[in-house]
Symmetry: C2
Amino acid sequence: MSQPVRDNHRPASIDALSALVADDMQAVNALIIEKMQSPVALIPQLASHLIAAGGKRLRPMITIAAALLSGYRGADHAKLAACVEFIHTATLLHDDVVDESNLRRGLASANAVFGNKPSVLVGDFLFSRAFELMVEPGSLEVLAILSRASAVIAEGEVLQLVTTNDLSTDEDKYLEVIGSKTAALFAAAAEVGGVIAGRPAEDNQALARFGQELGIAFQLIDDALDYAASQAALGKTVGDDFREGKITLPIILAYAKGSEEERVFWRRTMEDLEQDDSDLAKAQKLIEAHGTVAETVERARQRGEIAKQALNRFPDSPLRRALCEAVDFAIERGH
Amino acid sequence: MSQPVRDNHRPASIDALSALVADDMQAVNALIIEKMQSPVALIPQLASHLIAAGGKRLRPMITIAAALLSGYRGADHAKLAACVEFIHTATLLHDDVVDESNLRRGLASANAVFGNKPSVLVGDFLFSRAFELMVEPGSLEVLAILSRASAVIAEGEVLQLVTTNDLSTDEDKYLEVIGSKTAALFAAAAEVGGVIAGRPAEDNQALARFGQELGIAFQLIDDALDYAASQAALGKTVGDDFREGKITLPIILAYAKGSEEERVFWRRTMEDLEQDDSDLAKAQKLIEAHGTVAETVERARQRGEIAKQALNRFPDSPLRRALCEAVDFAIERGH
């Protein structure tokens, strides 16, 4: 399979990556369907509502790509990729309960359709299944990486909860939140691909770095889009972060640069959650005036460059190029 | 340490078991405190609210006792016991969110104090920590047993949700629920004690059987107490199951034996959840009239006998006797 050098005027996409991992992703998708089954019918019903709704499956693709980039020739990478997707799905289910979200991937969220209770419990089921599945390849190192990542994700989610409605949250704290809640799973997804291939620790660390920086870039863009995107393009409700008072980088920067009058506005809307119908538009206007969405995207671009550089120790190949393009895609999407 | 044969007129207690595992439980308790720490302060705050509130630590004691009964001489059993307690604590946190409970172990529940959101997320954290900790001893068999048990617990919780408010739930379905949501963890707690000691599979299966039957007995008594106990003795709100329309054995049997008029009452209160202040007392009266709490306790006694018999393949010892007394305690408590 050859891969042309990407025309810089063409929008970045994950098509090249998708094509290169397509065969293995079939095995991953089959495993996902198989392992979400249960004699308790509500479990596959609820899980398939979310899993069948699709999503880009970016995280499991990264596991597969990292394994292939590392010369892996077995079948266990598909199991680990399915684990990664299960952990991701479990956190989405719990996130939507915690955030009281009604929309996910352009569809009604599982909690909106089935209620909070089964969403919590099916999340637990998928999480447990992820661990069951990850025992099969028999790598204690992989188990250590993924269980550690799961704990870090939960820490990040709690930290996010604690910083919500708190405008004293600074950029470092914010980066701690997204580095944990989002990037830790991207990092683990990439690292275990190398570990399963038996590569030297330095290579696996480079893969982890790639995932970590990609994950941070990914979340920075998500947080920018919550103020900049159209709802149709985003597949989730625009302004969710604002309505919840989630302190993300566009807000942190706008608050830092804001006049005292603007800060009064931010405190009222983000800390006290006193918002009327015109406030989201006003928030977007302030963010636009201070250019803080653009600044957030610029930060994402920088993180993306570090991610791509981390792959430099691997020889040039269509797959390496496709992973780099996936980084660009994560940054350009929705704009 | 010697242990007198138990005087049958003395109420059963877990004091003998507690004394025999006391040294190892100190290590378990230290691990629990150590591993629930996090730079995110809300995590140990919330976790310690529940963990420090105590509880009998019956499950980790069973892991320690099973390991000692199996001749184990290392230190990894304490890690597994802490894992078991973390899994249990995580499920309690999520249960209380799902059940909207306000009382746990005689104190305000974590969700009542801290809210549902952190309870869900700290549950996820403890669950992840359990897996992190369980990787350390390096036994893939232990990992398989505990991850499988976690998935079964979640299945049982979902099945319980599905059977709630459904009076067509029969005794078999009920036993499936409690065998999964409660007994699976008791079974795994006991089994991993044997596995870590490197005992033959038959011995470990006997330990699993002991835990499974003890767990079923334990839950049968819990469900009986929800209609029979005083609130002070139970440390939780009496009548919770009734108010939620949870279909437990005292109800299943009373409904089966009930007149048509009684069935109308059960359908209104349990299926439609139309209840007024006098209905709990009326339910208790019907249950009393049909003797279904007594029948539930009798079922627990039978299960307890099977649990004790499962230990017969181990030589008589103070520890074996203490485990048998713990079974009796689980059945006699609260009466």
